[in-house]
Symmetry: C2
Subunit: 254 residues, 2 copies
Amino acid sequence: MSITLTTIPHIPMITSGDDLARIIADALATCRLALAPSDILVVAQKIVSKSEGQAIKLSEVTPSPRALELAKITQKDPRLVEIILSESVEVVRARPGVIIVRDRRGWVCANAGVDRSNVYQDDPSGETVLRLPVDPDASAARLREGLRERLGIDMGVIVADSHGRPHRNGTIGVAIGAAGLPALEDLRGCPDLFGYTLQHTQVALADLIASAATLLLGQASEGTPVVIVRGVPHTQRDGSAQELVRPIEMDLFP
Amino acid sequence: MSITLTTIPHIPMITSGDDLARIIADALATCRLALAPSDILVVAQKIVSKSEGQAIKLSEVTPSPRALELAKITQKDPRLVEIILSESVEVVRARPGVIIVRDRRGWVCANAGVDRSNVYQDDPSGETVLRLPVDPDASAARLREGLRERLGIDMGVIVADSHGRPHRNGTIGVAIGAAGLPALEDLRGCPDLFGYTLQHTQVALADLIASAATLLLGQASEGTPVVIVRGVPHTQRDGSAQELVRPIEMDLFP
């Protein structure tokens, strides 16, 4: 058994309004990579956000009193804090240099995923930041549909981001949007090799694939923002990255 | 750019005292897979633990008063709880059905990684459980050295396990032991595509690779417990999975 991950070359710089399905279909045609319905396309969050116009200039933002207060605690730009708050439902940790939130999509992450790096080549000041897609599952579903229309192939699609996490150092890849594959694969009740029923068998399939692809997406991900993953055993269904959101009241970890 | 993950067939059932380096080298010779020094070998924790004699029968265990108390709270077998406690430095959460600990190796995980499933085909009662390797970094280093002696190739080696995690549903692959590659790749200070200095750039390289391999290791991992990963850009150095342990006092997440 084997799995292959391949970057798609010839993806141009993405700007607001770009049709990602058309651009990716063109790039696939150029590199003559034959696709199969069980292939999974992983796309970096940054180009999805850019194509959807989620960049915003700090100079356009007026911080609220709450943002000013939180900026003081965290020593961050109050305008950036205002954007983070507008993307969040709850601030779960605020310390100098750190804001961890539950974001509007349900993800517990730093800065609500708002990113200063790699935004616009014409704004090296760092004054432009990029928010996550409003609904990354919908972004994945649109991309799946657009690729099905153009290529005649129903592939799984994952929108991947890099997250820090509790208890362990370093970022990993996570799925914030998914379509056409199970984000969470539920193997509870399946017997293991010796007939003993498996216990810990909800597998975060879309996160595993996002982490695998992150080995190629890298951190400066605009260079290679799309990866095709071939050979992952999975069932095809609509799927949603929301399957991976654990409600706070269900969280067993400290 | 591409990455390929390949399972190694012909790995027999592993028992205590088995020489994993010899067994894996033999299996590689059988399947005629040519290796390169930049290849990374991912091995499932279970076969490492088995080869190191980390299986233990519950009937051999006498629970301490503390284990009896914790068993009452968590509704678990007091003998299993005794083993979990002996593997841990701190219990961080105990509820019905759940024990989360900081284990002796530094990992915050359920049941100190002690596992009932897939242990012995001759003990379907579930009375035998498997502890983690005593020092998974040392296990990885021994395997690296053994493969270098037999094959003349210095590969990176990762001992992978499946963990749950806070805030997100489903298990992912993590590295609990590593040798011959950076577990944590520190890109802080590197410029991104547009010259803006990256901020979140400590990448958990060994965890990314462990998650990728977990797509093939599966949950009933004794069937395909070894995966070769080819094409991951990385620098070669001794490395240690301990790079991924975040001390509690440094933990910024709730």
